[in-house]
């Protein structure tokens, strides 16, 4: 019934870590906000317009988060199954869930928006009442945000369900969505680079474009009303906001009530599953394993969005981000700042290449976790554990390497990265990727039943070590150490830190696999 002492400790550490990450995120958000506001504070109408739009973007994110959370709260089959056996009325269930939603949304909303209000208030010397009223902003924004989330949660749930049942459509839709996102991202980044990095910020902050932003703000109903109330002190806008927000909330609540009851009463009925008869085809174990892993990558919805789709888009995304970063660092004041470190740019490019390939490959590094109860089968089938595990890791690794190779080639061909560095970038990234893959597998093998996987080692290998390496190399660059020496250090460093692991892991793998606890 009670968790063990070590579990409590781990949970506390985990919570503290999450809180730290969250605080860091809010800190960065606020820092960026302050930096921008400080730079545009003398532009008439720009700060208030920017603040309104910033708050509207936060609201949009809050709506998305609320939809996710509401789906978990309202359309969770296990939850419904458990509740149906208890004499609790639907209204009570919904009320309790909404209260739950309110608290989580308020805390989140408050954390995101209050620092912005404080920053804005301090910069523009607002009275104490401004700061006090800001406490109520997330409370009021909740009405609309959650109203909209409740309105959309069931259609969203249906869509997800539909896609889960139609794998081909799911794959196509996923790829199309990711492609669409990449195109929009690329276009937005291109415009942004032209305007900001190429010293054309005047074109963003001139009267015409600010008027356009104000025009855009007008359409951000009803959050613009709420923002105007808090930033510009226009009380009449509060009435407008309440009318719209309460309307949406009432509608959302009604739709959610109906769909929740429908889902609970009709859709939850257990259906008798008709067992499909599969034909058996004989193939060699390794071939069968490779086939199985490949199919898993392309048919599993989790993989498509977080791995396969991104893998396809990796060259495009990597090109966009790295070329933009190069533009930023070679123009304006940055060019002067960073010119004291001639190798800064290739090192940053290398870091970005590593990060991209790791983050995307991370989507497929739940090798055993994704098997769920099938791990039991893995233990019992007459195929060597090592072979099973190596196939499991090799397939996604191979796809990642192919994507990485294409990406780095694209960067070189498009002259974003010099061909002189092609081999170094590719080899170092591959080494880090390789290490990361096997450390991830090691972490999974070490994970005990009903325990969360500990990502410390993989994070260390995948993120911390490359980051330390790049920082040290940039410092060395200040002292005019040759770029080739820096790359040489990188190669040696990553091989050396990985070597002990490479040597010991094969010896431990059998033992770890055997010790691994499984669910019957």
């Amino acid at each position: 019934m009670f968790a063990s002492e070590s579990n409590i400790k781990k949970r506390v550490v985990s919570i503290l870590f999450s809180v730290f990450i969250f605080i860091a995120f809010v800190f960065v958000e606020t820092f960026v906000f302050i930096t921008i506001i400080q730079k545009i504070k003398n532009h008439q109408n720009a700060p208030s317009t920017f603040m309104s739009i910033f708050l509207s973007i936060v609201s949009a994110i809050m709506v998305l988060l609320a939809i996710m959370q509401a789906r978990k709260l309202f359309f969770n089959k296990k939850d419904i199954e458990q509740l149906t056996i208890h004499p609790v009325k639907s209204n009570q269930i919904i009320l309790s869930k909404i209260i739950m939603l309110f608290f989580s949304q308020y805390v989140l909303g408050f954390s995101f928006t209050f620092p912005l209000f404080v920053a804005y208030g301090v910069i523009f010397h607002k009275f104490a009442s401004f700061f006090y009223l800001a406490l109520f902003y997330p409370m009021l924004s909740f009405i609309f945000e959650v109203g909209l989330a409740l309105l959309l949660v069931y259609p969203f749930h249906l869509c997800i369900d539909f896609l889960k049942k139609h794998l081909v459509i799911q794959f196509i839709v996923s790829v199309v969505i990711i492609l669409g996102f990449c195109i929009i991202y690329g276009a937005a980044l291109n415009i942004f680079m032209n305007l900001v990095a190429k010293n054309q910020i005047d074109q963003i902050l001139n009267v015409t474009s600010i008027d356009k932003l104000i025009a855009i703000k007008k359409w951000l109903i009803p959050m613009n009303f709420l923002a105007d109330l808090f930033i510009l002190g226009q009380p009449l806008k509060f009435v407008f906001y309440l009318l719209v927000a309460l309307g949406v909330f009432t509608l959302g609540l009604s739709v959610c009530l109906v769909s929740y009851n429908y889902f609970r009463n009709v859709n939850i009925q257990k259906r008798v599953k008709t067992n499909k008869v599969h034909k058996f085809r004989f193939s060699k174990p390794t071939t069968a394993l490779i086939k199985k892993e490949t199919i898993l990558l392309f048919k599993n919805s989790n993989y498509i969005f977080s791995f396969t789709g991104l893998l396809i888009m990796q060259p495009f995304l990597m090109y966009l981000v790295i070329s933009s970063m190069n533009t930023i660092f070679t123009t304006g004041l940055f060019a002067y700042y960073l010119s004291f470190m001639p190798s800064f740019l290739p090192m940053i490019d290398l870091l970005l290449i590593i990060l991209f390939s790791l983050i995307i490959s991370q989507g497929a590094n739940r090798f055993l976790e994704s098997e769920n109860k099938n791990v039991r089968l893995m233990k019992t089938i007459p195929v060597r554990f090592k072979r099973q595990l190596y196939v499991k890791t090799f397939i996604p690794f191979m796809f990642s390497v192919v994507s990485l190779l294409i990406s780095v080639l694209v960067l070189c061909i498009s002259k974003v990265v010099s061909f002189k560095y092609f081999a170094f970038d590719l080899i170092i990234s591959m080494i880090v990727l390789f290490m990361y893959t096997y450390v991830s597998l090691y972490e999974e093998l070490k994970t005990k039943k009903d325990h969360q996987r500990n990502y410390l080692l993989s994070s260390l290998y995948g993120y911390v070590l490359p980051l330390i390496y790049i920082i040290v190399m940039i410092v060395l660059s200040y002292f005019r150490v040759s770029i080739y020496v820096l790359y040489g250090i990188g190669l040696s460093f990553f091989i050396l830190v990985g070597l002990p692991f490479i040597i010991t892991f094969p010896r431990k793998v059998d033992e770890l696999f055997l010790k691994m606890e499984v669910v019957n």
Binding site: Q44, F192, N199, N206, I328, A335, Y336
Partner: protein, 835 residues
């Protein structure tokens, strides 16, 4: 987690680039604005009987709704047009309204002006004796006149033997029809008071060179020359009325933008322009005021800002006549490094004028062409006022002057750019050209001078024996520029509101140093040595003592004896200033007679010479190149190219100032703004070091006044000599600008205000070098402070070490302070021209 990581990665470019934005400069220097014009319903000529009184009504037009300064309230005045000693009418003010009260029959000139008198409008009113059933004939051109002529003259009336004041009205011999010249014709509206008299009118006389049809009021030109027609009235019910005008030989009447282009930019050899309309900005053209009249045309082919008003294909482009050695060398360099963009040597002008130009008092406003199309509303930190700050968009054709020299990548935040030739509104290109009675401005009035940074020069003159007279030129980075033009005459003109100078002159010609000739140099220890410039100023490594090592010690602050260092540096400058065959060999000469200089950002007149520092000659001190050469990104240097041997010694020019030429150009310390002189990012960069380098608060912020530290010295000298008005206002008629040898001369000939010039018109010297020598080395105060000082000193080795010179007004008694030129004074001057 993984998705969040990806999102962070994708957001990174947006966030980081925002951190790199440079905040805008938020310190503005306001300009005292005057009204832009006066609007009224009256024709050029009106008539009024002796009975009763005539209510006078007019409105002030203010550009961009700016609040105008004191002295801009409208007032009315009247004077006799004929030579009668007794007034024919007077102005009465009753309950705040103005009335023209007739006294006796005759002709009067009624003027509405601002109190200052620099903006006015006039009409000619015939007072007729209404007590004897008399009347009057009124003749007005069908297309309204400007009502703003400066060019006036006395006509000797043979009948009365009196001098009668008349406007010099010009018509061209030709009109343009379907792109061809045809003999001109134009119409007059002929009315009578009372209206019934019209049936009794007849043509009494006319000159031989025109035909005149009374029914239609149409004049058809037969040939050039003075012209007139006289209309009489039967039974002598009204006095005869004669219309006088001049037909300009080969002149073309310009009524439209197409006509204007035909005569200027689209013409190989140019045509004589006779303006018959004003050419205005889109805002003015589409305003309700302009729509009421028929004498305003648009400068441009359409009113679309996004299409640059259709001007892209209409402007005239030519290769700069100024030194463009740097641009050529940069472009050669760029051929081997495609990552950098080449620079253009092309200058743009709104009007390419190659023949005489008759303005008839009309206005040409180049705002559509010159003014940045973007606007930012910025709050001034000092006054908390919001200003409209003009910003370039990608559609703008005028984008600032060409570069004479740039240290850094010209397209990517160069450290410093010294300017070459700027774009211009009007480019007068040719010999023996007369520009007469035209009101030109490069843009609408501005509230802050920094908005003039990109608008270019109002009039750029390139030719000999050019005369600009009876004209008003305003609103430019520089207002009028003349380089290598002999016998330029500026007569009875008003030059107003410039970012830098109102008149800037110099020569395009220069002589390069004789590299092999032996020169005398003074070493740091005070000993002399003889060497060629080529040898002495070459870059050296190690401990060899030569110009390079001396200059290295100077920029790095590695010296103890300032005087010896100064002597040594001046000997280097002296060697670079090889004036053999240059002194007194004037390549430009200007006579300024009865002209008015009003509101400059720095000084009224500038005599410019090339920057000629040792760094431009041979890239010495080498420490700068070594230091800046270290700045690189991934094998790509931030200072990709440093040009050498691009300058020389400018040939001098001479300026004669005479008559009633007046300098209405007082400014206080904040009003003297040097920011328009050069483009620099040294201050932004050096000041940002402070933000990133945690150097503490002891490192002072760099501003243009550190880079060109002449403001403090100028005020100090004026303070010492007790020339400042009220202890804080300075008036600088002439500045000798450029750190190389400046051998130009200013002469005052029959000049009214000699007594008001400080030191009898002799210039005071501002030795910038002393400031730099006094600069703390910063060696013991950290790298960043040392870098800052090095960057500042880099400016001197680029410009040269010669002192800047200034002729100042002795303004202690406030002579001309708070005053302006007046149009009535200009009209009086115009009368003197005929004598």
């Amino acid at each position: 987690m993984k998705k969040k990581n990806l999102i962070i990665l994708l957001l990174m470019p947006f966030v980081i680039s925002l951190l790199g934005i440079v905040a805008v400069n938020v310190s503005f220097h306001k300009v005292d604005n005057d009204i832009a014009a006066i609007e009224w319903e009256y024709n050029e000529k009106e008539a009024f009987g002796t009975k009763g009184r005539m209510k006078l009504q007019a409105n002030a037009i203010v550009d961009n709704d700016y609040q105008v300064s004191e002295g801009n309230e409208l007032v009315w005045e009247v004077k006799n047009a004929d030579g009668a000693t007794e007034p024919h009418a007077k102005i009465e003010q009753i309950n705040g309204e103005y009335y023209l009260v007739p006294i006796s029959a005759g002709e009067v000139i009624v003027t509405c002006r601002n109190q200052k008198g620099n903006v006015s409008k006039t009409m000619r009113v015939t007072i007729f004796d209404s007590s004897v059933s008399g009347g009057a004939i009124v003749i007005n051109p069908a297309i309204r006149s400007s009502n703003d002529n400066i060019d006036v003259y006395y006509r000797k009336d043979e009948e009365s033997n009196q001098n009668v004041l008349e406007n010099n009205v010009y018509y061209g011999e030709y009109d343009l029809k379907d792109g061809h010249k045809v003999l001109a014709s134009f119409n007059f509206n002929i009315t009578t008071q009372p209206a019934e008299l019209k049936t009794s009118l007849f043509v009494k006389a006319k000159s031989d060179n025109i035909d005149f049809d009374l029914t239609t009021g149409k004049v058809t030109v037969k040939k050039e020359g003075d012209a007139y027609f006289t209309i009489g009235c039967g039974n002598d019910l009204a006095a005869d009325k004669t219309e006088y005008f001049k037909i300009v030989n080969d002149g073309i009447n310009v009524y439209s933008f197409e006509d204007l282009m035909y005569c200027t930019n689209k013409s190989t050899n140019g045509e004589i322009v006779v303006l018959r309309k004003s050419f205005e900005s889109s805002d003015t053209f589409t305003s309700s005021v302009a729509k009421k009249y028929n004498n305003v045309a648009l400068f441009g082919t359409n009113t679309k800002k996004d299409d640059a008003y259709g001007l892209t294909d209409q402007v005239y482009r030519f290769e700069t006549t100024y030194n463009h050695e740097y641009i050529d060398k940069w472009n050669e360099f760029v051929k081997t490094k495609t990552t950098y963009k080449p620079l253009s040597t092309e200058v743009i002008t709104g009007l390419h004028v190659q023949k005489d130009f008759y303005g008839n008092g009309y206005t040409i406003n180049f705002h559509n062409l010159t003014y940045p199309y973007g606007v930012q509303k910025i709050t001034d930190e000092g006054s908390n006022q919001v200003f409209d700050v003009a910003t370039l968009t990608d559609k703008n054709l005028f984008r600032g002057p060409l570069s004479f020299y740039t240290l850094g990548d010209p397209a990517n935040m160069p450290l410093i750019t010294a300017f070459g030739q700027d774009n211009s509104g009007m480019y007068v290109d040719g010999n023996n050209i007369v520009i007469n009675d035209v009101n030109i401005k490069n843009c609408d009035d501005v509230k802050i001078f920094s908005n003039l940074d990109y608008v270019g020069t109002v009039m750029d003159i390139h030719g000999d024996n050019v005369t600009v007279k009876n004209s008003r030129l305003a609103n430019g980075k520089n207002v009028i520029r003349s380089f290598s033009s002999m016998n330029l005459t500026l007569d009875n003109c008003a030059f107003s509101r410039s970012r830098n100078f109102l008149f800037v002159t110099g020569s395009n010609e220069y002589e390069k140093i004789d590299e092999t000739a032996t020169k005398e140099f003074v070493l740091e220890d005070g000993t002399n040595t003889n060497a060629s410039a080529k040898d002495f100023l070459k870059q050296v490594e190690g401990n060899e003592v030569n110009g390079d090592s001396i200059l290295n010690n100077y920029v790095m602050g590695e010296f103890t004896d300032k005087e010896k260092m100064e002597t040594s540096l001046l000997s280097i400058q002296s060697a670079l200033n090889d004036t053999t065959g240059i002194a007194n060999n004037f390549k430009g000469e200007t006579t300024i007679n009865n002209c008015y200089f009003y509101q400059s950002g720095i000084a009224s007149i500038a005599l410019e010479s090339l920057f000629n520092g040792p760094f431009l000659y041979s890239k010495v001190p080498s420490g700068i190149e070594n230091m800046l050469g270290m700045l690189s990104m991934d094998d790509t240097p931030v200072i990709p190219y440093i040009a050498e041997n691009i300058s020389g010694v400018s040939y001098p020019v001479k300026v004669k100032i005479s008559g009633n030429t007046s300098f209405y150009d007082y400014k206080n310390r904040s009003g003297l703004d040097l920011q328009g002189l050069i483009s620099e990012n040294i201050s932004a960069l050096a000041n940002s070091f402070e933000q990133v380098g945690s150097t503490g608060t002891d490192v002072p912020k760099i501003t243009i006044d550190n880079i060109f530290p002449m403001k403090n010295d100028l005020f100090e000298v004026n303070q010492e000599k007790d020339w400042l008005y009220n202890g804080s206002y300075i008036n600088i008629p002439v500045a000798y600008y450029g750190g190389g040898a400046n051998l130009s001369k200013v002469e005052f000939v029959n000049y009214r205000d000699m007594a008001h010039l400080g030191d009898a018109g002799n210039p005071v010297e501002i030795n910038l070098l002393k400031n730099y020598l006094d600069l703390e080395t910063g060696k013991n105060d950290g790298l960043l402070k040392m870098m800052k000082n090095l960057m500042l000193k880099t400016v001197t080795v680029v410009t040269g070490f010669e002192p800047f010179k200034f002729i100042c007004m002795n303004g202690k008694d406030g002579y001309l302070y708070g005053k302006t030129f007046t149009t009535s004074e200009m009209r009086n001057n115009a009368l003197l021209q005929g004598e």
